[in-house]
Assembly symmetry: C2
Homo-oligomer: 380 residues x 2
């Protein structure tokens, strides 16, 4: 995977190679408009990387440029990922407009007529901002169900991309070999602004079994109020330098430094998140933003890990995959979720993470194009 920091927030590229890539090009655009972030996935040919990398010179990024023996786009060689804050949706519209991504389908004479002038869109914003897309870009959003997309995106990644899933234990990522014949059932936990927990039984076979409103939006929203951080990433960065014991009430704080073995809690276990703020004559300004961010991240990650495990247990699911933009490949987040799942399951369950964590929904929407060009890959 290659990463770059362009576009409003971030832009990544992922080479997802297909057997007939050398003759293949498709350019499609799918968006996942969540409560906090807009995730964009589009495909382009391999020949136009340079133009793309320069950021602006990209009018024909996703136009079907001849590649090899064919003049027609049939399969993408490169997927592009970008994200924007939902509150700055105009930046996203400008990005799409400047790259003329929304005109892809029109220019593909061979594209399915159904795909013309259409952007596949999922997430709540697909409903909320449909009129805005029509007005500003002249395109219709073809709404695809959010859960359908998350599951399609996750299944696609787990079956296609190697390595995609990994565990995070003691500070080390370890890639997990996924046996396609033994993938289902699993619990998919998508941590966006809120959290959805989905029991996945197969392609298009799933049920949203639970969720929690304490998710990425809570971390960012509460964190912003408490620390005056300007961005999610800044807040996450702060947490790396923090010490949650300054604010969290530990078992040892209550028991005078000793463990509470009868109930299986060590003196360093958190008894009450933010509980130490009760008894001290300190105000918000007296705490370091780093410590606040760390406590908050730990509260939320631990809580998600616990509720996820309880749901996995309920349905007898051995595998829990965590996705969504909250994770952001952040070591401490993954560590806390892993430890929570380990703690509550008494070592019987393991948290797994996905490399393309934040783009499950957008990828799922992308794969819903009739001619998305990924079929060969998914069946490869």
């Amino acid at each position: 995977m290659e990463c770059g920091m362009r576009g409003q927030l971030e832009e990544r590229e992922s080479k997802i190679m297909s057997p007939n890539q050398s003759t293949a090009e498709v350019s499609h655009l799918a968006v996942d408009i969540g409560g906090s972030l807009i995730k964009v996935v589009y495909s382009s040919s391999n020949n136009n990387n340079e133009a793309d990398d320069k950021g602006k010179k990209s009018s024909n990024d996703c136009v079907g440029i001849p590649n090899g023996s064919s003049d027609y786009p049939v399969l993408c060689g490169r997927l592009h990922f970008a994200k924007f804050e939902t509150s700055k949706i105009n930046d996203c519209l400008e990005f799409i407009s400047s790259k003329q991504l929304h005109q892809c389908a029109d220019w593909h004479h061979e594209a399915s007529s159904h795909d013309k002038n259409i952007i596949k869109a999922t997430g709540g914003g697909a409903y909320k901002f449909a009129d805005l897309f029509k007005e500003k870009l002249g395109v219709s959003l073809d709404k695809v169900d959010e859960m359908d997309c998350l599951v399609a995106g996750s299944n696609f990644l787990l079956k296609t991309v190697h390595p995609e899933a990994f565990t995070y234990i003691d500070g080390r990522e370890e890639y997990v070999q996924i046996d396609h014949n033994d993938l289902y059932p699993y619990l998919l936990v998508n941590i966006g602004s809120g959290v959805s927990m989905i029991k996945v039984d197969g392609d298009g076979k799933f049920e949203r079994v639970s969720g929690t409103s304490v998710g990425g939006g809570t971390f960012w929203g509460l964190g912003k109020l408490l620390t005056k951080c300007k961005s999610f990433d800044e807040l996450l960065e702060l947490s790396q330098k923090g010490n949650n014991r300054v604010i969290d009430m530990l078992v040892g704080d209550i028991y005078g430094g000793v463990d509470c073995p009868k109930i299986g809690l060590s003196s360093t276990a958190i008894a009450s998140s933010f509980g130490k703020a009760i008894s001290e004559n300190k105000e918000l300004e007296d705490y370091r933003p780093e410590d606040i961010s760390r406590s908050l991240l730990r509260l939320i990650s631990n809580n998600i890990g616990q509720i996820s495990y309880l749901n996995a247990l309920r349905f007898g699911l051995n595998r829990i995959f965590f996705g969504g933009f909250f994770i952001r490949g952040h070591a401490y987040t993954m560590d806390t979720i892993s430890v929570a799942v380990h703690f509550w399951s008494k070592g019987e369950a393991k948290a797994m993470f996905l490399r393309h964590e934040g783009f499950l929904g957008a990828l799922g929407a992308f794969t819903s194009f009739e001619s998305h060009g990924l079929n060969d890959i998914t069946t490869h």
Copy 2:
């Protein structure tokens, strides 16, 4: 129940009548020293209510004053409940000293020798503050396990006090008739600074099956940082006048006002607690403390309701009793917990609350006296 506001934080009395009350007196003292609060339970005769009610004139409150035909204390007619902030433990020590509660056992010549000069103590503070009690009051704390006490207190109340348990639905308390022969098993959720979830199978038969660090200490600690409130009750009071929709991101905020029926979420469901704080150009000072307190209370109550239900489900428990000082008989707290249990269980489970919610541990410690005088009541 009679309530009064004396002592550091609050003092209550509860007449727990026994068959031979007119001839009965016992004065014992038990304390439950938690991370945030110290809960005190002591017994006194019926004759000294007046002295007690005047607050200060209480040197012989718990001394065995002849009542009826007996000179000896055998059964209490009145239990007293008081609470203090753990951070102000000296106020508690002064209260005990001024009422000479710690000398009760000494003065009871008929009291079990085991009970002399002993205060039954539970909670982590029984370990942390043992030396302080010895130094300031000259008494030993006889430590009783926290979970043992919670369960003993809860069983005692459910079997003895009518009415004790109630549901809270649509703003109405409804008392629940408890069949003593069909009490077990149940899930006891004690919401103190942190939360303990205990599967209770009988007297002294239980297992702490789960818990969460997101409890009363989180509400108070985070709430204090966010609103500058000086006390838990002030924060709770604020929440009554608040509107969580100002800060919480609702499903409708993401979906543009429409429901998301496919996943069973209405437009007014909270998608992300505090999630609206992300996208607005507002700082902490721009939000009303009332709204912040409401969102926080809802986050925590809802989360506890959800995790409790998942644990009840896991062990096939139909009844969930909620206790602990977090609840404080507060309508909105009980309402949110009730709605959460109803929502996640699809109407199959009901949250129940206990009138003496905050004193389970202290009552349990009290009942651990060899001659606590409550046996007649419990078997009554």
